[in-house]
Amino acid sequence: MNKLPEDSLKQVFAEHFKNLGFDVATEVANIYRSADLVVVDEDKKITIIECKISNVRKAVEQIQIHKLSADRVFIGMPFRNPRESTISMIKNACAGLLYLMPDGTVEEYISAPQLNDWLEKTKNRLLDNMNYRGA
C-alpha cells in the first residue's frame, strides 16, 4: 500500500533523530491520542513531534495534550515561508517548528521552550508505551 506523504514525513524526521543517536518511535499511544514521533535522549528527556503536511492550526490543537508528557514539543512540516501569524501561533502554544528542507536536511526553525506542564506519571506511561512499540 502506498504511504501517505505525512507518513513519509514522519519517517524522514525519525531517521534524522535516530542518526543523531536518540531513541525514536512513531505512532505511540499517549493519553488516548497518538503521538506521531517520540524522541528520547539519554537523560530520558522526551520530545514529541506532531507531523503535518499542512494545517498548522490543527497540529497546534493536537499537540496540547502531548505537553503533559513531554519536555519539548514540535510541529514538523516540509519547508515553506511561514507567515508571522503562524510563527506567533506556534510560539504562543509553547511549541517549536521543525522544517524538512528541500535538500532533505532538518532545520529547527523555531526553538521549542522547555515545558513544565508534564507529569511524571504521564511521562512514564508514554515511555512504557514506547517500549511496547519496541523503540
Binding site: D7, E27, I31, Y32, L68, N129
Partner: protein, 452 residues
C-alpha cells in the same frame, strides 16, 4: 423533585442499579422492549430486586427503518437479532411481525387504504403494545422473586406507552397522524394506567417554527397524560444561544398541553430546564449508565472506546486527557480539599483517594489503559489505548454520582447562583481547552436568561 431515571440496557449493568449506595442515586427505571421480550424472567428478577417504579419502551419506531439496523452487526445479510425477532413476532405482533418475516421496513401504507387510516390495524397494534407492557413481566416472575415483592403491583409499569413512530420534516406526515391516532386509541382501550406519548422527533421539529406547530397542534388535540421526549441526536453542548431559546419555547408549548414531560436522553441543560425558576419544563430526565446524554434514532457505529471523565463544573463527559489538562494546569492536585472543591467529591473519587497514595494516583485510575496495535488507513502500524474495565466501571460510578449532584443542584441553588457557577467554570476552563469546547456553558446561561 425531578424524576431521575436510569435506562437499563443490558443485564451486565445491574451493579449500577443495585447495592446500598447506587440504588439511592435514581428513582425510576426505563427498560427497552427488546430486553424484556428476550429475557423476561431475568428482567422480572432484576425489577423484583430493584423494587423501583419502571416503564417499558415498546420501541415500535425501530421497525420504520431499514431492517439492517435490526440485525447482528448492522449487516443486512445476517439474521435478525433474536430479541428483536421475539419483540416483533411474539409480543407486538400484527404488522410488526411482518417486518421480520418479510424482511422489509414498516411503511405508512401498511396502515392506510388510500388516504383513509385502517382503524382495525391501529386497534391490533395498540392492543398488542398494551398487552406486552402490562403482562410480560408479571407472567414471567418466578416464585422465589415474588417473595421479595411488597405487592405484585411492583411488577407492573408505572405508565404505559402507546405505539409511536419517528417524526421528522422529511419523512411522511402520515407517521405523525398515525402516532396521534395510536395514542387516542390506546387511551380508549386502557383506563387503569396513565398513557404516555413517546415523542421521537428530528431536531428540525424543535427548531423550525412551522414544523413545531405541526406537531404541537396534534398534541394539543390529544392532550397526553405524559410525554417521553427523544430529540434525535441532540447534543446539548452543540446548541447555539438561539437554539437553546427555541428549545425552551418548544418545551413550553409541550408543557401547556400535557401534565408531565420527561427527556429520555438528556444532559445538564435538561436538568437546568427543570429548575423551578425556568418553569420546571422537564419533570424528569433519563440517561444510560455511561452514555445517553444524546442518542441517534438510527444506531451508529461506536468508534474507538475512549476513557472519559464527567467533569462536573463543565457538565460534560470530557476525554480523560482533557480533564487531566484542566486539573494539571489549575494545579488542583495537592490537597484533597482542593480536588474535592474544584474537581469532584463524589463517593467514587473519595474511595479512590482513600485507597491511593495521592490525589493524582486516584485521578489516574480513571485513565488506566491497555495498549493495542492497529493498522492505520495508510497501512502503517498505529498504537491505541483502550480504557481498562476497572477504569470504565469507576468512570461510570463517578458519572452517576455527578448526575445525582446535578439534579440536587436545581433544588439547592437559585438560578442566579447556577449562572455564576457556569460563568466561573467557563473562565477557568476556556483558557485551557479553548472557547469551542466549553462555549456551551455561556450559551446555556444566555439562552435560558433570555427566555425567563
Amino acid at each position: 423533585m425531578m424524576d431521575h431515571i436510569y435506562y437499563y440496557a443490558t443485564h451486565a449493568e445491574q451493579r449500577y442499579f443495585l447495592g446500598p449506595t447506587m440504588r439511592d442515586q435514581y428513582n425510576k427505571i426505563g427498560i427497552n422492549g427488546n430486553i424484556v421480550s428476550y429475557t423476561p424472567s431475568g428482567v422480572a428478577s432484576f425489577l423484583a430486586t430493584a423494587n423501583k417504579p419502571f416503564y417499558i419502551d415498546p420501541q415500535t419506531h425501530i421497525f420504520q427503518f431499514s431492517t439492517q439496523h435490526l440485525k447482528k452487526n448492522n449487516d443486512p445479510k445476517k439474521k435478525f437479532k433474536p430479541s428483536i425477532e421475539i419483540l416483533a413476532s411474539d409480543r407486538l405482533k400484527g404488522p410488526f411481525s411482518s417486518v421480520v418475516t418479510e424482511d422489509k421496513p414498516l411503511l405508512p401504507s401498511v396502515f392506510y387504504e388510500g388516504d383513509e387510516i385502517d382503524l382495525e390495524k391501529v386497534d391490533i397494534i395498540c392492543r398488542g403494545c398494551l398487552e406486552f407492557q402490562k403482562n410480560t413481566i408479571i407472567e414471567e416472575i418466578n416464585e422465589e422473586d415474588i417473595e421479595f415483592l411488597d405487592t405484585e403491583e411492583n411488577l407492573t409499569p408505572q405508565f404505559l406507552i402507546a405505539p409511536y413512530f419517528y417524526i421528522s420534516s422529511k419523512n411522511s406526515p402520515k407517521w405523525l397522524d398515525l402516532t396521534s391516532i395510536c395514542y387516542s386509541r390506546t387511551k380508549e382501550l386502557e383506563n387503569n394506567f396513565p398513557i404516555y406519548l413517546s415523542l421521537v422527533i428530528a431536531k428540525d421539529i424543535v427548531f423550525d417554527a412551522r414544523e413545531k406547530e405541526r406537531v404541537i397542534e396534534k398534541i394539543r388535540n390529544i392532550k397526553p397524560d405524559g410525554i417521553l421526549l427523544w430529540v434525535d441526536d441532540l447534543e446539548e453542548e452543540s446548541l447555539s444561544v438561539d437554539k437553546v431559546q427555541k428549545y425552551i419555547q418548544f418545551l413550553k408549548s409541550l408543557k401547556t398541553n400535557t401534565g408531565i414531560v420527561i427527556n429520555t436522553h438528556s444532559g445538564y441543560l435538561s436538568i437546568l430546564f427543570g429548575h423551578p425558576e425556568v418553569g420546571g419544563l422537564f419533570d424528569g430526565i433519563s440517561h444510560g449508565i455511561n452514555y445517553g446524554e444524546s442518542r441517534s434514532v438510527v444506531p451508529v457505529g461506536g468508534g474507538i472506546p475512549m476513557a472519559r471523565f464527567y467533569f462536573y463544573s463543565v457538565h460534560s463527559r470530557l476525554r480523560w486527557g482533557d480533564a487531566l489538562q484542566i486539573v494539571q494546569k489549575n494545579n488542583w492536585w495537592g490537597r484533597r480539599e482542593t480536588y474535592a472543591k474544584n474537581v469532584c467529591s463524589c463517593k467514587q473519587c473519595h474511595d479512590l483517594i482513600a485507597q491511593s497514595n495521592t490525589v493524582e494516583d486516584a485521578f489516574f485510575y480513571y485513565g488506566r489503559s491497555q495498549t493495542v496495535e492497529r493498522k492505520s488507513r495508510s497501512g502503517s502500524r498505529i498504537e491505541l489505548e483502550y480504557p481498562t474495565s476497572e477504569a470504565k466501571q469507576a468512570a461510570a460510578n463517578h458519572y452517576l454520582f455527578n448526575k445525582t449532584r446535578e439534579i440536587n443542584s436545581i433544588q439547592n441553588f437559585t438560578l442566579a447562583e447556577i449562572f455564576d457557577q457556569l460563568t466561573d467554570s467557563y473562565n477557568k476552563t476556556a483558557p485551557i481547552l479553548g472557547d469551542d469546547q466549553v462555549a456551551h456553558l455561556n450559551n446555556w446561561r444566555i439562552g435560558v436568561e433570555r427566555e425567563l
